[in-house]
Amino acid sequence: MDDLTLSERLRQRGVSRRGFMKFCAATASMMALPPIMIPKVAAALEQARRPSVIWLSFQECTGCTESLTRSHAPTIEGLIFDHISLDYHHTLQAAAGDAAEHARDEAMKKNWGEYLLVVDGSIPLGENGNFSTIAGISNLEMLKEVAEGAAAIISVGTCAAFGGLPMANPNPTGAVSVSDIIKDKPIVNVPGCPPIPTVITGVLAHFLTFGRLPELDHLNRPKVFFGQNIHDRCYRRPFYERGQFAETFDDEGARKGWCLFKLGCKGPTTYNACATAKWNEGTSFPIEAGHGCIGCSEPNFWDAGGFYRALSLPHTNVGETILTAGAAGIAIGAAAAVLNRKRKSDAVDNRETITIKDLSKES
């Protein structure tokens, strides 16, 4: 752990007290805390020592890191991330080769049991895990080794959280999520493809503020960010309620900003903070840019039946099913009809003649 507190470091970087308090207010409101908590957030963050963070990147596209760095340079969220001790991160660290791996070993030894482990990317189990290796060590082996001494694990991105794109059908590498392998550590999933930068930093801020991980939902996602679905917070919701839908991406409805449900928007089944926290420093989010939500923060979003297929539509070809079933129905119906007719004619053939004698009481 570093000796300087976050507050001291921020001041060294020229961040004003006012700027710092604004950040604390934003963090408090993002975490749905009452205003009374802002000074507490500030006090906790000011006193926070830099926890060591080891960031492991496995089967991933670096989009999660890209997302984080997009908000980096000018924003205070970037700075707070700078003020944790990021001891190992392939993409961002200056060291390479042995020196890089040495930094990881060092950080682990020095902070055993206390460091935060951040993982992005899924872990391949196929071919003994050899589909993805770092410094000759398989992802599986490295994850197990580093996780052992971690205080907690943050799975950043849908790949680390749920398997994501590498796990999509037919999953050639046998990819799995972090929680499929590590069972004995607290794990926070911060899914998204990529996740919102402020959500990643928000989770870290929560850890720094309260010294524990935030409250999680059934998929281990922080409730404060993943508690509500996009549909409920969507500014296009009134058009859904009025039954006004864009039918194509360039029709009158699309130009008027009507609901994108019919174009396959997964907003109703996607839990994320896009519609409230937004992207690019609060500029907009995909639906605002005219494209439906693809549900990237949900498990198996890649195989959930197509990005452009409305949620109320089945995955399969309905017309084809009707025709096949229709043909089958006619065939079975015809067979049943023949059978029924045969039964009828058999009954006629086998009818026994009843005479008056049969009906008389004496017989």
Binding site: T269, A310, L311, S312, H315, A336
Partner: protein, 219 residues
């Protein structure tokens, strides 16, 4: 199985299986009836069969006065139930997309709020239908398990749809999955219960009207 997986199944294999049973089962039932055939009617017709058929097809949409006067509420409730079900099924945007996907054309829907209200009314109307059934000694006596199963599988899609739209009981994803599964249950059960009347009503009316028309009597 979590909500996402359940939804994926309900939108995939589940729907396919249910739709196959529904279409094949319905055709089987209707063909069986049609294939029974008529005995040739050798008598000279005293009126027009087709005219009687069309007439009955239309006239049975209206209640008979004698029946209506005896139980007006039950008859009105029947209308509310059927019309409500049609509105919710055919005039809700997300439902229209489904029909559009295999018909190739769509139609304008109603605002979701209106569908929500009609859905609630239809649910209440179904509950009222059950009350009427249980309160009427004769109807209760002639009711079989089939009637109660048909009632339940009709209620479930309405109820789950209402809960899904209003975000009640479970997450939207879970409720949507349950809604689709309840529709699939309805599709599977329909051909083998009195719910076949959704198609066979036309055949039955035509047949009766035709027979009556040919004999020159009122149907």
């Amino acid at each position: 199985m979590d909500a996402n997986e359940l939804l994926a199944w309900a939108r995939g294999s589940g729907f396919d299986i249910a739709l196959t049973i529904f279409v094949a089962g319905m055709l089987l039932r209707l063909l069986e009836v049609l294939a029974l055939g008529n005995k040739p009617d050798l008598s000279a017709p005293r009126g027009s069969g087709p005219k009687g058929g069309v007439q009955t097809l239309l006239s049975r949409n209206l209640p008979r006065k004698a029946v209506f006067d005896r139980e007006p509420l039950r008859i009105i409730n029947g209308y509310v139930l059927h019309i409500g079900f049609f509105i919710v099924l055919f005039l809700y945007g997300p439902h229209i997309v489904l029909f559009e996907s295999f018909l190739g054309f769509g139609w304008p829907g109603l605002p979701s709020g209106v569908i929500d209200a009609v859905g609630a009314i239809t649910i209440l109307s179904l509950i009222a239908a059950l009350v009427f059934r249980l309160n009427n000694k004769v109807i209760r006596f002639i009711s079989t398990k089939d009637d109660y199963v048909a009632w339940a599988v009709t209620l479930l899609p309405l109820l789950t749809g209402y809960l899904t739209y209003n975000h009640l009981v479970a997450s939207y994803t879970m409720m949507l999955a349950l809604h689709l599964l309840s529709v699939e249950l309805l599709l599977v059960v329909a051909p083998f219960t009195k719910l076949t009347h959704m198609f066979s009503f036309a055949m039955a009316r035509w047949y009766q009207g035709y027979q009556a028309g040919r004999r020159g009597v009122e149907s």
